[in-house]
Amino acid sequence: MSAAETTPQRIAGRGAAPQRSLWHVILVRPETMTLVLLVLAVILASQLSPFFLDISYILRSFTLSAEFAIVALVLTMVIIAGEIDLSPAANMALSTCLFAWAQASGVPMPIAIAIGLVAGLAMGALNAFMVIGLQLPSIIVTIGTLTLYRGLAQIIAGDKSIRMPEWFIGIDKVLVFGVPATVAIFVVVSLVLGLILAGTIFGRQIYQIGTNEVAARYAGIRTRRIKLILFLLMGLAAAIAGMLTASRLGSVRYDLGLGGELQMVLMAMLGGTYIFGGRGTILGTFLAAWLLVVVSTGMTVANLLPAIQLTVLGVLLIVAIIATNLIYSRAQR
C-alpha cells in the first residue's frame, strides 16, 4: 500500500515538505484514525452487551452489509477520481429484478445471470455517458438515475417479490475457511482493488485525475477512458452485489438495497476518502466497513433504539471528516 500512501502527496506537488519520521507517516493518516475507532468500537460494544464478542456472530452480521461493502470499494476509486455515484443501490435493485424476472420466466440460470450483469453494465454506461459525454455533474446525474433505476425496478417487479430457486439461496451460509462466502469475496476484492490502486499505473492515474483532471489530461492520461472504466466497474459490482443479496434473502423485490447508497458513501468517508478526489485508500474503506458493522451490530445486540444508531452514525461521519481534513491539511503543510 506504500505507493498509494505517497502518491497523492507527490502529485499534489508538495515534494518540498520536510522529511518526516516513519512513525509520523504511519500515525497521522486517516486509516489510522479508522483503525483506532474500530478498536474503540469493539471495546465499547463488548461493554454494552455480553453477547457481542463472538467472532462468528460478528462475521454473520457482516454478511448483512457485505454486498454494500463490496460496492463501496469500487465507489472509493470513483471518488478518488473526483466523481461520485449515488445510483449503485438502485442499480442493484434493477439489475437483480431483471435477473430474477428472467429466471422466473424460465430463462436458464447462466443466461439470466448474464442478463443481470449486462443490465448493471448498461446502467453504469448510462451514468458514464451523462457524466463524461455530456459533462453533467455526477452527483445530480446519479441522484436522477438513482430515482429512475429504482422506479424501473418497481415497474418491472411491481410490489411483489420474486422467489429464487432453493439451490441458489444461502451463499452467505457457505463457509470458506470458516468465513462466510460473501465476507470472503469482500476480502478478496479488497486485496485485488487495493493492489490495483496502489501498485499499478492505472491506479496512480486515478489519483492524478482526482487531484487535477486538467493537469492529468495534459500529462497524457486518458481521463475519459479511465472514468468510463470506473463507472462500468461500478455497474458490474452493483449487479454482482445485487445477486449476492438475492441469494442471501431468497427473494427479490424492487426495494432490494434501499438506502444502500448512504452506507456506501459512509464507508468511503469513514475510511478517509477525500470527497473532492485525489485521496483515499482501499484499506481505509476496508476498515470502515468493519467499523460500521461493529457499531451497528453492537448497538442492535444491546437492544438500543435504532434512533441512537442514527445519531451515532451522523456524529461519526462528521467527526471522521473533520479528522480526515485536519490530517490532510497537516500533511500538506
Binding site: F51, R60, S61, L64, G158, D159, S161, S251, G259, Q309
Partner: protein, 330 residues
C-alpha cells in the same frame, strides 16, 4: 457490569434449582418500525402481561418498515438467546432464512398482527387480531349502513401487494355480490402506499374521477385519516362517507366533528396480552402448539388454535363511533 451479570447468573442458578416454574422467559417483540403509534398499544399488552406472569419483555424495531430492515434485529435476538421472538413481519418472504436459523436454536417464532402468507412453514404460529375472512364483509356492511345501501363506493388501500389488505379487499368484492347490496357499486380500488401525501392525492383523484361517489372504505390507518382529512377540508362529509380501519387516537377528532360517523378496528392491546400469555404457557408446557388445542388467557377466556396454527384475539371487529370512542385509549 460484570458483577451485576454474575449476581444475575447466581440468582438464575438459584432460581432454576429451587423452582423451575418460576423461571422467567425472555420475550422480544419486533415491530414494523419505530414511531408507529399502532405498536404502542400492542406493546402495552406485552408489558402489562409480563408484570403479572413470568416473562421479561423487550420491544425493538428498525427505523424504517422496509422488507429487510428487521433481519439484523432477529439475528441479534438469536445471539442474545431469547426464548420467544414475536414479530410483525415487514416482508412475507425475506425473513424465511433468519426465521429458520432462530427456530433451529429452539426459539419460538410467532408472527403477530400479520402473517408471512405463503411461507407459514417458517414460523411456529401466528396471532391475528380477528378472523380476517370476515373483515371484508363487515366493512361492506359498515359502508352500506352509512350510505343507505345505495350508490358508488371506492376502496383506498395501502400498497398494491399488502397481503392483509388484499385479502380483505377480496372479501369485500365477494360480499358486495349479496342481493342486499344490489344498489351499491364498487367503482375503483386505489392505493395510497400508506403515505399521507400519496393517500391524499389518490383520494382527491377518486373524488374528481367519480363525482357521484357516496362512500370510501380505507382499510388502513394512514389511508382512513388521509381520506377523512380530504373530506373534512372539502366540507363534503354529508355527501361522501369515509370509513375503514383506523386507530381511535388518530380518528377521534374526525369522529367528534362529524367527518367520520363510524369506523372499525380491533384491540392491538389484546394481541400483546395474548401473545405473552401463550408464550409463557408454551414454554412451561401448559399449552401445546397444535391445531385444535385450547388454552386459557385471563380476560379473554378460552382460546383455540385454528388451522394453520393461527389464533384470533377477537371474533369480530370493534366499531367505534361518537358514543364509545372516548372509552378507548389507543
Amino acid at each position: 457490569m460484570l458483577k451485576k451479570s454474575l449476581i444475575a447468573m447466581a440468582a438464575g442458578l438459584a432460581l432454576s434449582t429451587a423452582a423451575l416454574a418460576q423461571d422467567k422467559i425472555d420475550i422480544v417483540f419486533i415491530g414494523k418500525n419505530t414511531g408507529n403509534p399502532y405498536f404502542d398499544s400492542l406493546t402495552k399488552g406485552f408489558v402489562e402481561a409480563c408484570q403479572k406472569i413470568a416473562c421479561n419483555f423487550e420491544f425493538v424495531a428498525p427505523a424504517t418498515a422496509e422488507a429487510t430492515s428487521q433481519i439484523p434485529f432477529i439475528e441479534a435476538q438469536i445471539q442474545r438467546g431469547v426464548d420467544v421472538i414475536a414479530i410483525s413481519p415487514n416482508s412475507p418472504d425475506a425473513l424465511n432464512q433468519v426465521f429458520d436459523a432462530a427456530r433451529a436454536k429452539g426459539i419460538i417464532v410467532m408472527t403477530v398482527n400479520g402473517d408471512i402468507t405463503g411461507n407459514e412453514a417458517h414460523r411456529d404460529l401466528t396471532i391475528l387480531p380477528t378472523d380476517f375472512t370476515k373483515v371484508g364483509a363487515d366493512q361492506i356492511e359498515m359502508v352500506g349502513s352509512l350510505i343507505g345501501y345505495e350508490g358508488e363506493i371506492a376502496i383506498l388501500s395501502a400498497t398494491t401487494e399488502a397481503p392483509d389488505q388484499n385479502f380483505w379487499i377480496k372479501g369485500m368484492n365477494e360480499a358486495i355480490k349479496d342481493p342486499k347490496y344490489a344498489k351499491m357499486k364498487l367503482v375503483a380500488t386505489v392505493y395510497g402506499d400508506d403515505q399521507p401525501e400519496k393517500s391524499t392525492s389518490e383520494m382527491e383523484a377518486l373524488m374528481a374521477n367519480f363525482p357521484d361517489l357516496k362512500g370510501v372504505i380505507a382499510p388502513t390507518t394512514v389511508g382512513i385519516a388521509a381520506a377523512a382529512q380530504v373530506v373534512q377540508s372539502r366540507g363534503v362529509a354529508d355527501k361522501v362517507k369515509v370509513t375503514g380501519l383506523g386507530l381511535p387516537s388518530e380518528m377521534r377528532d374526525f369522529v367528534k366533528d362529524g367527518t367520520v360517523a363510524a369506523f372499525q378496528l380491533w384491540s392491538p392491546y389484546n394481541e400483546g396480552w395474548l401473545a405473552a400469555h401463550l408464550a409463557v404457557d408454551l414454554k412451561a408446557g401448559k399449552a401445546k402448539n397444535e391445531v385444535g388445542s385450547t388454552f386459557e388467557v385471563p380476560n379473554l377466556g378460552t382460546i383455540t388454535i385454528n388451522a394453520g396454527n393461527s389464533i384470533n384475539t377477537q371474533s369480530a371487529l370493534t366499531t367505534f363511533n361518537a358514543e364509545n370512542i372516548d372509552q378507548f385509549d389507543f
